[in-house]
């Protein structure tokens, strides 16, 4: 994986990435909100930065930059709701920069990036309330979500919003699949940043991950065949001295 990363940084190989339908749909969602003259809601999920689900929030934020730029370009109101206090300033700065980049710095309103308490359901009730009051026309949710996923998806459905959602939390994916118009499954959100920015370093990292997966696949196949004939060589190797006890 590191090797792949190195190769791309040196510019030896820039991999291409397969199409992710959910991300293509964001433009459509923003466009529709503009046509209807209503606002957009975005949330980067509720995962804290200092946890292993933190990367999902970072992925959400990289999509936010994209959404904010589109919103600034089309002059459509964008509401961003935040659960993790540390994320609030990041989101605010990302949105501000996006407005500057789109040439509309005066349209940026810091009061539209709202911190709604770090308690899961206080946050959820705030989001659902906001979606109803503002009658949002598009609801974009990319990041780590837990039980509130369905509250958001149904809440936004009730106000008739078009929805793009994605999370790597497996227990919540079925709701996004069932209740939203477009859905990013699992790792797809982690690839979103690379997909949008086309940044060679990030693309290289995705390429590296793919190699990691291929190696895993080989290990699983070989290991299973060995296990079926009762040979535990590979198993012992894995359990062996590789790890501290």
């Amino acid at each position: 994986m590191l090797a792949a990363l190195y190769l791309t940084i040196k510019g030896i190989k820039t991999p291409t990435i397969r199409k992710i339908a959910g991300l293509e749909a964001i433009r459509e969602a923003v466009g529709r909100a503009t046509e209807m003259g209503r606002s957009i809601h975005f949330t980067p999920g509720i995962a804290g930065l200092a946890t292993d689900t933190g990367p999902q929030t970072l992925a959400g934020l990289s999509v936010l930059a994209h959404v904010a730029e589109l919103a600034a370009k089309y002059k459509t109101t964008l509401w961003t709701t935040i659960r993790i206090p540390q994320v609030q300033p990041l989101a605010a700065e990302i949105v501000r920069q996006a407005y500057v980049k789109a040439g509309a710095p005066d349209d940026y309103d810091p009061d539209k990036i709202i911190y709604l308490s770090d308690t899961q359901f206080a946050y959820a009730s705030g989001v659902v309330g906001l979606m109803h009051r503002e009658k949002v026309a598009a609801n974009i949710m990319i990041g780590g979500f837990w039980a509130e996923s369905l509250l958001f998806a149904e809440g936004a459905y009730l106000v008739g919003a078009i929805q793009v959602a994605g999370t790597a939390n497996t227990s919540q994916i079925p709701f996004f699949v069932a209740a939203c118009d477009y859905c990013l499954i699992g790792e797809e959100i982690l690839a979103a940043g690379a997909y949008i920015s086309k940044d060679p370093i990030q693309l290289g990292a995705i390429w590296g991950q793919d190699y990691g997966k291929l190696i895993t696949i080989v290990l699983v196949v070989v290991g299973t065949i060995l296990a079926l004939v009762g040979n535990d060589f590979l198993l012992k190797l894995f359990k062996g001295p590789l790890w501290p006890v």
Partner: protein, 279 residues
């Protein structure tokens, strides 16, 4: 609007009202359906059953008020089971809401918590340890340094139970009652894997599918939501434990049937309409 359209477009308020009534009914008038035991609950029970008198068990309460309905009954039964085996409990939580639930659960099982004569001897409530996964890591390494005082502000060094319990190595079993992050995954990483201590978990039903890949080597057994708690209660009957979950499980059954009913209803309309169009 045709009949098939109507089948597909029942007003959500009607659905809400029906849901409310169907779930409320068995709570007022229980049916008493028999509850079969699932393999995950059995595995959980068997693991706890292996404890010997005097063993120390860490119970980690990592849930919030929102899921009390599912995890509180699990907590009570787990405490009762461990104590019935003569083992000792170090109760701790990494979620800020939970110290009160530890207190309540112990009170429900023993009648008293902090004022109980065996407090500090057979069980202890260390309260909330802030810092999520980091806190779990340092708790595993050195309990006394991580939380010098229990939930009530007593220094834990003075309590007889904690004299021999210095780090995670002194636990014979970890019971994780967890909803999300931090929870069982972080405990597997920071306690189970580095110290090689058996771990069993009680989770909400939502988390149950995610826990499966860790069974049986990393996690020894799982209580899956309210159903898991109800099955566990039945297994604990031999210790004279009195359960309370028979009526709620009836409500649960009817709730599931209701969801299936609505799914079928929606699909009848959908399929018939499609079929009609094809003609």
């Amino acid at each position: 609007m045709s009949f098939f359209d109507k089948l597909q477009n029942v007003d959500r308020r009607v659905i809400f009202l029906v849901t409310f009534l169907i779930v409320a009914l068995p709570l007022v008038r229980p049916i008493g359906l028999p509850i079969p035991i699932g393999p995950m609950t059995q595995a959980f029970y068997d693991t706890v059953e292996k404890l010997k008198p005097g063993d120390v068990v860490m119970i980690s309460f990592d849930y919030s008020a929102a899921v009390l309905a599912e995890q509180y009954p699990q907590s009570k039964s787990a405490i009762a089971h461990v104590l019935a085996k003569g083992a000792k409990i170090v109760a701790v939580c990494f979620w800020p809401d939970a110290p009160t639930f530890i207190d309540n659960a112990i009170t429900d099982v023993l009648g008293k918590a902090q004022d109980h004569p065996k407090y500090g001897v057979d069980f202890i409530n260390l309260g909330w340890v802030a810092g999520g996964e980091t806190a779990m890591a340092s708790f595993g390494k050195d309990i006394h340094a991580t939380c010098a005082k229990d939930h009530y502000g007593k220094p834990i060094g003075a309590l007889p139970l904690m004299k021999d319990v210095k780090s995670a190595k002194d636990f014979k079993l970890v019971i994780a009652l967890s909803t999300g992050t931090p929870g069982y995954r972080e405990l597997v990483r920071q306690i189970q894997a580095p110290y090689a201590i058996p771990l069993v978990v009680g989770v909400t039903a939502v988390t149950a599918p995610e826990v499966r890949p860790y069974f049986p080597q990393q996690i020894g057994g799982v209580l899956e939501g309210l159903a898991g708690a109800a099955e566990y209660e039945i297994l604990l009957k031999r210790y004279g434990y009195v359960g309370t979950l028979s009526a709620p499980m009836d409500a649960q059954s009817l709730g599931h049937l209701l969801v299936i009913f609505f799914v079928v209803l929606g699909n009848i309309g959908f399929v018939l309409k499609k079929y009609g169009k094809a003609k």
